[in-house]
Symmetry: C2
Subunit: 214 residues, 2 copies
């Protein structure tokens, strides 16, 4: 059923490969044209397998979407929320998180697109699925860590601790989601992700510190 | 043709009113369900006028979209890019811009939604229209102002001047675009736009300053 079947490879491995190819193709199509506009037939075509094979692995687009969340999007979320060292301060935690968002999205070029289209957009088809699973307790822990830092005079008192995660996510992810626009402008091509990491972490490091405490 | 026609009101004023109602309805539908999913009949229905009246004012969805950009979106862009006082420094310019984005979007609740769906999303139907008109020369002027500040030792040297506009836009706009999600979480309801302005401008003011120069 797959166009080229490597000789001597066991069928189980081939099956796993077909499933992975389908997930990759679906993730890519969902990111570029949206979940609603993507049919199972298009996914089969992009993965170069028969439509029957899509139905064999995933009964419906809903099931395929669940698998994309579980196996493609979730590893990124887990990466972003890697627990910090026990003695980490709020500034260290947030700058490390910004770097993980940018580096994690770098090897998943579909991710910022999917995030804009299906999480950020009202009615996005991943919005509910992500909301149900997002670790809001960890967002709140982070917020407490920041508030403690403010009390002890280390952290800029004008910041709102509960807004910091969304700020970091926005600063890191939006330039990636729009890179195809701004990198095409004259004089912008040389801004790579290393520059973006330096820019975002510098703004956070100094912006989060209480004045005079850097 | 309009459901209720105020007595004694001249027809010209009535027409202007119908046209404005149509533009408002279209802007709202475009923001909430997307341009592609919105028909002229839906716009007519939402504005409570006959479909014939939509066709009278706007020959096509494309023409309606042009009018939405020109008369609804563009005033916001102009507001954001209000020229700063001649003696303004980069930090003053960027914090004022962040505040104008947040306050300008506050009175245009459809704006952050439309921006996510039709500008940020790949294939968004306002992307091209906005790109052709965005004042990139002013983005570059801003970037030069920042770079000058870095040379003179006032501005954090680790920041990338060319990324600052997109950073400010992201930090200001993304919390607004997702407010319906996070404001619904326990303990988040009291975060209003005054808190958001304070948070974003505090992060910028301290984060943009060269260490020891605040």
């Amino acid at each position: 059923m797959i166009r080229t079947r490597p000789r001597g490879r066991p069928v189980a491995a081939l099956d796993q490969n077909a499933r992975a190819l389908l997930l990759d193709a679906a993730t890519d199509l969902f990111a570029h044209q949206g979940v609603a506009a993507t049919t199972l037939a298009q996914v089969a075509h992009a993965a170069e397998v028969t439509p029957a094979m899509v139905h064999y692995y995933f009964k419906s687009r809903d099931q395929l979407l669940d698998a994309v969340v579980e196996e493609r999007v979730w590893p990124f979320v887990e990466l972003v929320w890697t627990p910090p060292p026990a003695d980490a301060d709020a500034i260290g935690v947030m700058t490390a998180m910004a770097e993980r968002i940018i580096r994690g999205a770098e090897i998943r070029p579909w991710l910022p697109l999917l995030w804009v289209r299906e999480v950020l957009s009202e009615g996005g088809m991943l919005r509910e699925r992500m909301m149900q699973r997002l670790p809001f307790d960890r967002v709140m822990q982070l917020s407490t860590l920041m508030a403690d830092g403010q009390q002890r005079g280390h952290i800029n008192p004008d910041l709102e601790p509960r807004l910091l995660f969304i700020t970091v996510l926005a600063m890191s992810m939006m330039p990636l989601a729009t890179a195809s626009i701004w990198r095409a402008r004259p004089g912008m091509q040389d801004i790579d992700n290393t520059v973006l990491v330096r820019h975002v972490t510098a703004l956070l490091r100094h912006g989060m510190a209480a004045p005079g405490k850097e």
